[in-house]
Symmetry: C2
């Protein structure tokens, strides 16, 4: 059955626009060339701004890669690149592409100059290296974005006019789609960088605040790590309906769970002897102080619950509000387990650390009293797997 | 001259893909319809998920808006919307669009049921409200994304087949382009939200740290506001080569310029009497402590310079390094001016605030000694304009 190239092109253009991953897009285009025009192999040389060259990004043939990728990196002085980049092709051939046959035909002309002959000869040589029968440039706003090329047709025949037209039109759409995909990629990369910057800044500031409390070096980092492990497992188990960005909220909550300690006087925070009742009460304000600090940030609504309630107990004997079982947000219950475990396994003012094994037993013992049984159960699972 | 619709469509599709602002895109499409098919007016009813309806987003005619936008909001039960949404059009007409003429022709048929007649009559009525001679649905993955419609041709003739084909093909591309633009918009919105979250979290934590120092309520906010005003003016003057994200770095630096105070004991920070030399030295460590806290965040490289050097003096007599004139980063010189001005105009431990006017004179006096003359000059400009 004959292929309706106009229709194929429309379909191709539409699919391309929906692919926002440049590498996937390029592979898709090459696959399209090989399948629709039925050639032995095809490839794309794509402009790489950082490296000031055109690089063979994909090459596809019946037995995988036809031209080894490392092999084909062409700089701006490469005759084939210059031919298209400086629009010499337009002057000499004028079709918007170059075929082997056409180039050979050109060289037989008697009306051309020696210089013109040399240019086309050099182009021909590059095409032979690529084993290409046709090369089609792809421009975006007059910049050469890349060069599509393909080998012989499987049936051994010459490329037909309508096939070449299809390829030229495809090359146009390719430029558009690649630019679109790159813009998407840029935005996504920036978004990712933003997230990292946000987390890293929070880590730095949380660490600075933690440093006020002499006994908690590395505490925040360890509580955060363990909380995230528990949170990930909780999501995996799918027993609870969690918010869409639960893990991110948990991450922030764990990093900032003790941020309120900044509001506690150093004289209490680092007191050598035991705290008076008055001092204890003051100390127990830190979850609420922390929640107040973060209150203006409405995007951290759930994280704030984690900060505020990480000292609540399952039996209702915790602080600040004495919430019990069902009323304690899971985000706070997770931090409570991680916080308790870390407190037991590190030296504090008035007692030495206990061993990991003892601490795990203790966590199990207080499940349902101090700590949330569902979260303890996940913690015990993780500890059995050696992940605590 | 006859219009080559195939070519027009290619050009249109390509331009559309490059427009990532949904509103601009929609206006562009309607303009295209009016110009290319030469109709009196055209419009787009666009799906609005939040409002569960299709809303007239743009309507363009020779004298501006033809159909008032508020007028045309169609919910899912609107006969025209149902006709396309449930693909009834395909069953009854099968062209991928509906014209007035065709609908009227259909109603004259004797082979149709009363129910079918009612459906098409209701559609006709909707078209009359819109003053439309043709409506073309636009689908994305079988979802009705919108309906394109247009009025009579300016020359009074019927729409030709090739014009209708052009419009149907355009409607396809429109769906693609709108989806693409919406995805872009989503990403950009998320990026914006991220930036806000980042700034807001930094503000909250900086405020918490500031609260340790009893004498500096609101200081950070005021220094940040003034620093940003100076920074914006500096960019406008274009006298200096500034980094691409200078203002963002300045924002962070100003917010965090005193973050190192978290490392100074409260007994020194809030001492009632004068500081001993030893205590002064300790206090003067805060810029370096601040820089150390932020050091791990490589994206804040420039902001860190602002934090580290905001107590350097133009004459080299500042701390921590005694840098002079040319060597002090502008970002730090800006914060120094804002910081000095705010310190003078607010009460501190051992002296009352001076008036704004006196403080401005003092800033002018120490220009070239304590403060960077270029930045002072911008500060004085701003104060003349009443912006300080």
């Amino acid at each position: 059955m004959a292929i309706d190239y106009k229709r194929e092109l429309e379909i191709a253009a539409k699919s391309m626009i929906l692919v926002h991953e440049p590498d996937t897009l390029i592979r898709m285009i090459v696959r399209l060339m090989v399948q629709k025009v039925k050639v032995i192999h095809a490839g794309i040389l794509l402009h790489d701004e950082q490296r000031n060259s055109y690089i063979l990004r994909v090459s596809r043939g019946p037995t995988g890669t036809k031209v080894p990728s490392e092999f084909a990196r062409m700089d701006y002085n490469n005759p084939l690149i210059r031919f298209f980049k400086e629009r010499i092709d337009k002057e000499l051939l004028g079709d918007g592409y170059v075929t082997l046959r056409e180039a050979k035909h050109f060289l037989r002309k008697t009306t051309i100059s020696a210089e013109e002959k040399d240019i086309v000869k050099a182009v021909l040589h590059q095409m032979e290296i690529l084993d290409a029968t046709v090369c089609i440039p792809s421009y975006f706003q007059n910049e050469l974005l890349g060069v599509l090329f393909m080998g012989k047709k499987k049936n051994g025949r010459e490329l037909q006019r309508k096939e070449l037209d299809f390829l030229v039109a495809l090359a146009h759409d390719v430029a558009m789609a690649i630019r679109n995909a790159r813009l998407f990629k840029q935005l996504q990369t920036e978004l990712y960088k933003r997230k990292q910057l946000f987390i890293n800044t929070t880590i730095a500031l949380a660490a600075a605040i933690e440093a006020k409390d002499h006994y908690t070096l590395g505490h925040t980092q360890r509580v955060t790590d363990l909380s995230l492990k528990i949170g990930k497992r909780l999501i995996k188990l799918q027993e609870e309906r969690l918010s869409e960005n639960f893990l991110e909220q948990l991450h922030m909550a764990a990093l900032l769970h003790d941020v309120g300690k900044i509001g506690i006087p150093e004289s209490i925070l680092n007191k050598e002897g035991p705290l008076t009742n008055e001092e204890k009460k003051r100390m127990q304000l830190h979850p609420v102080i922390g929640a107040n600090i973060l209150q203006p940030i409405k995007e951290l609504e759930e994280a704030i619950l984690g900060v505020k309630y990480h000292h609540e107990r399952y039996d209702g004997k915790g602080y600040p509000e004495g919430l019990n079982n069902g009323k304690i947000p899971l985000i706070a219950a997770i931090i409570a387990v991680a916080d308790t475990f870390d407190a037991m396994t590190t030296d504090r003012q008035y007692r030495a650390a206990i061993s990991k094994k003892e601490a795990i037993q203790e966590i199990q013992r207080v499940s349902g009293q101090q700590l949330h049984p569902q979260i303890v159960s996940i913690f015990l699972q993780l500890s059995k797997e050696g992940k605590v």
